[in-house]
């Protein structure tokens, strides 16, 4: 693997230089406790200390609400992508974020491939950023705390400088283009990295043993925990919206006032909502809140494992931070496993 180094100052120049390749997006502070990915006006806005944004990077690939097709009564259906060639460079993805994209890649491939998703995927450059976990991170338990691919460049923040991993041919091109900004790391630099890495490994406080979790879930379908959870959950859907790997959506059509043409949209949905399983005639398959909350956990930790061999949760902790009623995924699952 190709490893380089760049100082903090030069890194800022690098990002400014990258603006000629597309819109550069970075993590910014939004409120006292929250961050968002947003377009960079100046590199001074970068919140290097950030751990999780409110919305994950999925927002760049499946927009909260996006147009799928337009139609007219005269000429039928057609695809109408806004800005199909827009290039975006996102800086600041932590390993869990990069892994979340790899999980979404799975969901949007398969027998039918989602061209909207992959068009944006193709047009997006991914720059990773190393991190130091807080008490809500459990990516280590989910096996998403490190990455060896899935990014173009990866920056390990080591104080005065970043250690840079090159993860793709495109990343390599950028290094060549800005070769005067990057340098070869010294052995001491690698030592600093190893030290930081060890510190990070010791810093994970939250743990979830997922080795036989799907099996436990299978036999604990009727656990009292789900009912308790059902009573507490507002079914507000926040957890799904902020989850990097929740990708459900609704489809609906609009019609123009002239009555001759219209558009078809998709919009994020959540399995926590009652109408999620509503079919004509009014039957709802998951009537109880408990069944719905349970479904979210089962799809992530059970269904996805059976389908793809790994859970779809990345341990990012967003649903823990943003649940208004403080439902804590790890505490819940530990409780189900009898380890409260």
């Amino acid at each position: 693997m190709n490893i380089l180094k760049i100082t903090r100052e030069k890194f800022q120049d690098f990002l400014i230089g990258m603006q000629k390749h597309g819109e550069v997006h970075i993590p910014k502070r939004k409120t006292e406790t929250t961050y968002v990915y947003d377009i960079m006006d100046s590199p001074d806005e970068i919140a290097y200390e950030y751990l999780r944004t409110i919305l994950p990077v999925k927002k760049y690939f499946i927009k909260p609400k996006e147009k799928l097709i337009k139609y007219s009564f005269d000429s039928g259906f057609s695809i109408d992508l806004e800005d199909p060639d827009k290039k975006v460079i996102i800086f600041g993805l932590h390993p869990c974020d990069i892994n979340s994209l790899k999980i979404l890649d799975l969901a949007f491939s398969g027998k039918y491939v989602d061209p909207y998703y992959f068009n944006r995927r193709k047009n997006t450059v991914i720059f990773g950023l190393g991190c130091m976990p807080d008490e809500k991170c459990f990516c280590r338990s989910m096996g998403t705390d490190h990455v060896t691919d899935g990014y173009d460049l990866y920056f390990n923040d080591l104080g005065d400088f970043f250690l840079v991993n090159v993860g793709s041919s495109l990343g390599d091109d950028f290094i060549k283009e800005f070769s005067d900004l990057f340098e070869k790391p010294e052995p001491e630099d690698i030592d600093i990295y190893i030290e930081k890495r060890n510190l990070r490994a010791k810093s994970f406080k939250l743990q979830l043993d997922v080795s036989d979790l799907p099996y436990i879930l299978d036999i604990e379908r009727e656990s009292e925990v789900w009912n308790e959870l059902g009573n507490k959950c507002l079914c507000c859907g926040s957890c799904s919206m902020v989850c990097p790997t929740c990708y459900c959506f609704n489809i609906f059509d609009t019609i123009d006032l002239d009555g001759k043409s219209g558009e078809r949209y998709r919009q994020w949905d959540t399995c926590l909502s009652k109408d999620y399983t509503l079919v004509a005639g009014g039957h709802v398959f998951r009537k109880n809140r408990a069944d719905r909350v349970k479904n979210r956990y089962y799809h992530k930790q059970h269904g996805f494992v059976e389908e793809y061999g790994r859970p779809s949760c990345t341990g990012c902790g967003r649903c823990i931070q943003f649940c208004p009623t403080k439902i804590h995924v790890v505490e819940v699952l530990n409780k189900v496993m009898g380890k409260s």
């Binding site: 929250t34 919305l55 609400k65 507000c236 902020v242 609906f252 219209g262 009652k274 208004p324 009623t325």
Partner: protein
């Protein structure tokens, strides 16, 4: 369907939803060409008060006998009756203190011994007639209104996504006010449609669009109590306005249950 014949009516209200129709400045002339608006007291002085209607849009709450009479007349005339605005759909602000007898209110406001003021307990129009469709909002949202009119011209009515304000709030990437500031926000009880207007302005939702079909008062009460708010606070804040008709009753039940 050719041009539907439409009547637009206001019962007791602030006229806000009718004003929203007039506020569609860019679309108004087109709307006028798509709909045959034959009866609309607020916007035109020559009105047809007898021809059968394809669609009647009714705004406002029933607060007097005159409203009931008008409503029944409209129902008889119209194939479709659509409630526009939270007052017509759910009772709105005016229904906030329905537990106080109207007699007492009258006396408070007009003084004793006044008997000519015709006033009944404020109720949504669904308490009196069959309502075919509800477009909530205090006032209604322009884009939803235009979508409804477009659909009506085709002979349809649009689907209203039954999701809470919270979802739109997160889709706009707002920090949750409950999490961040510990305030009472009615987002999870309220049907989306406003694009989470208030939380996007750092103001908690007070439920002006009315309830989602499935309101989880129990979980909300539990949550706010855990956040250290007293029962009285929760009750007061959650029945703040517009939602009282639906909220207060169920909420009181919940709070009563809690005390067991």
């Amino acid at each position: 369907m050719n041009k539907p014949k439409v009547g637009i009516y206001g019962l007791t209200s602030c006229a806000g939803d009718q004003l929203v129709i007039l506020n569609c400045e860019d679309e108004l002339l087109k709307i006028a060409s798509k709909l045959d608006i034959i009866d609309w007291v607020m916007a035109q002085s020559k009105n047809d008060e007898t021809t059968p209607l394809d669609v009647a849009l009714v705004e406002g709450v029933v607060a007097q006998q005159r409203d009931i009479d008008l409503l029944k007349k409209v129902r008889n005339r119209a194939k479709l009756v659509i409630a526009i605005g939270t007052c017509a759909c759910f009772g709105g602000v005016a229904a906030m203190k329905n537990q106080i007898p109207r007699e007492v209110m009258k006396a408070e406001v007009y003084g004793d011994n006044i008997d000519f003021i015709d006033s009944v307990k404020a109720q949504p129009i669904g308490s009196f007639i069959k309502v075919d469709y509800r477009l909530p909002g205090c006032p209604i949202e322009k884009d939803q209104l235009i979508q409804m009119i477009s659909s009506l011209c085709l002979g349809d009515l649009p689907e209203i996504l039954n999701i809470p304000v919270c979802m739109e709030c997160k889709m706009r990437e707002n920090a949750c006010l409950v999490v961040e500031k510990g305030v009472v926000c009615c987002g999870s009880l309220t049907v989306a449609g406003c694009n989470a207007r208030c939380p996007s302005h750092n103001v908690p939702c007070s439920g002006c669009h009315g309830p989602i079909e499935e309101t989880h008062y129990d979980a909300n009460v539990l949550m706010f109590k855990q956040a250290g708010l007293t029962r009285k606070d929760i009750e007061q804040k959650m029945s703040m306005f517009s939602t009282p008709a639906w909220m207060q009753e169920k909420l009181m039940e919940e709070i009563k249950d809690e005390s067991k």
